[in-house]
């Protein structure tokens, strides 16, 4: 069976050993290929799955994609514990080792530049959710019963509406303030699109979805700063994820922020 090379990340050479039981996509063992002061972390994958046509077909399959994405992330996460890997996008595949070497040669300058930018840093994800129901529940014991009159009903509705309006306004200024505060503690920042609860399975509406590039030695302080805001505002939930490899900071186009 013909085998291709799936490359997960490019790093500087590192000495620490990876977890012994760490495997890549499809359970294959990981290999390091060094060229010109750069290391490509890769595993062998069957051409039957990662050749042009099969890969195209697989990418349409959300279950396959989920498994592959988790395997990809598991390798990147393991690398993050021993070095600062530059993660490649899912599905970066070469015919053989010499194809990988050619890539390291051709893209070397750009890769080195990107590696320098993220050196010593990890990425933290911070999301803010607004939860109108959670906020209203205690203040509205009457809502469960019937309104005594049409006027009561309208008054109740108005109160609920005003509560929701106030929550959105508060959520907006809270998110902006938090983002400004965290940006001051980060080497770089990216704003991602808010997530839809269908896929994230999170409750509430995602108001802020930010990624922050933070030095490893500053990470503890950064995390404490986020933790402090967690119960600050009723009806708003702050969620922290990480440490991630610097996924969101691997674009060569500098520090342009993505639209909300």
């Amino acid at each position: 069976m013909n085998e291709l090379r799936y490359v997960y990340a490019v790093c500087r050479p590192f000495e620490a050993a990876l977890q012994a039981d760490l495997v890549g996509v499809g359970g294959a063992p990981l290999k390091q290929l060094e060229h010109g002061g750069l290391v490509a972390v890769l595993s062998r994958v069957p051409e039957a799955d990662f050749g042009y046509e099969p890969l195209r077909a697989h990418l349409e399959d959300l279950d396959w994609l989920t498994a592959t994405a988790r395997a990809h992330q598991a390798v990147i996460a393991a690398l993050t514990t021993v070095t600062c890997p530059l993660p490649l996008r899912l599905g970066t595949v070469f015919r053989d080792d010499s194809g990988v070497r050619t890539m390291l040669e051709d893209e070397g300058d750009q890769l080195r530049e990107l590696l320098a930018r993220i050196d010593g840093c990890v990425e933290w994800g911070v999301k803010v959710y607004a939860e109108p129901e959670a906020q209203q529940a205690p203040s509205e014991p009457a809502a469960a019963g019937q309104a005594a009159s049409g006027r009561d009903y309208l008054r109740m509705r108005r109160t609920r509406q005003q509560g929701a309006d106030r929550l959105w306004a508060r959520a907006d200024s809270f998110a902006q303030e938090l983002h400004t505060d965290l940006t001051a503690r980060a080497a770089a920042t990216r704003l991602h699109r808010p997530q839809n609860p269908e896929l994230s399975r999170a409750t509430g509406r995602n108001i802020l979805n930010g990624a922050y590039l933070v030095g490893r030695s500053q990470s503890e302080e950064f995390v404490e700063c986020v933790e402090r805001t967690k119960d600050q505002e009723p009806g708003l939930r702050v969620e922290l994820t990480g440490p991630w490899a610097a996924y969101s900071f691997s674009d060569p186009n500098g520090d342009e922020e993505e639209a909300w």
Partner: protein, 123 residues
Amino acid sequence: MTTASRLPDPYGQSGGSANLADILERVLDKGVVIAGDIRINLLDIELLTIKLRLIVASVDKAREMGIDWWEDDPSLSTGARRREVDRRQSDLTRENEQLQARIAELEAGQGTRGRRKEKASDE
């Protein structure tokens, strides 16, 4: 040399079960784009990303696509309240029209009876 020793414990990915949306957002949409030998990477994954966005749609995207359930919930949206008022108004308008039609009908009925009476008195 950087090490992981000072890193706080992982958040939000306990047991390697990080939120799928968080993983896909990064693995599919971020990370360095390098043209491999299997040149499917850029364009096709971009297409797939667009498809995923239909699932991971943002609020604005969702609105563009016509997914706007929260706008129909009066407790979440002023737009829904406005529509609620509009709906009540159109209910009233319709009721008004029905009543006017009924009155016209009754008046017309009286009119014919009246004319019949006139006819009868003529004879």
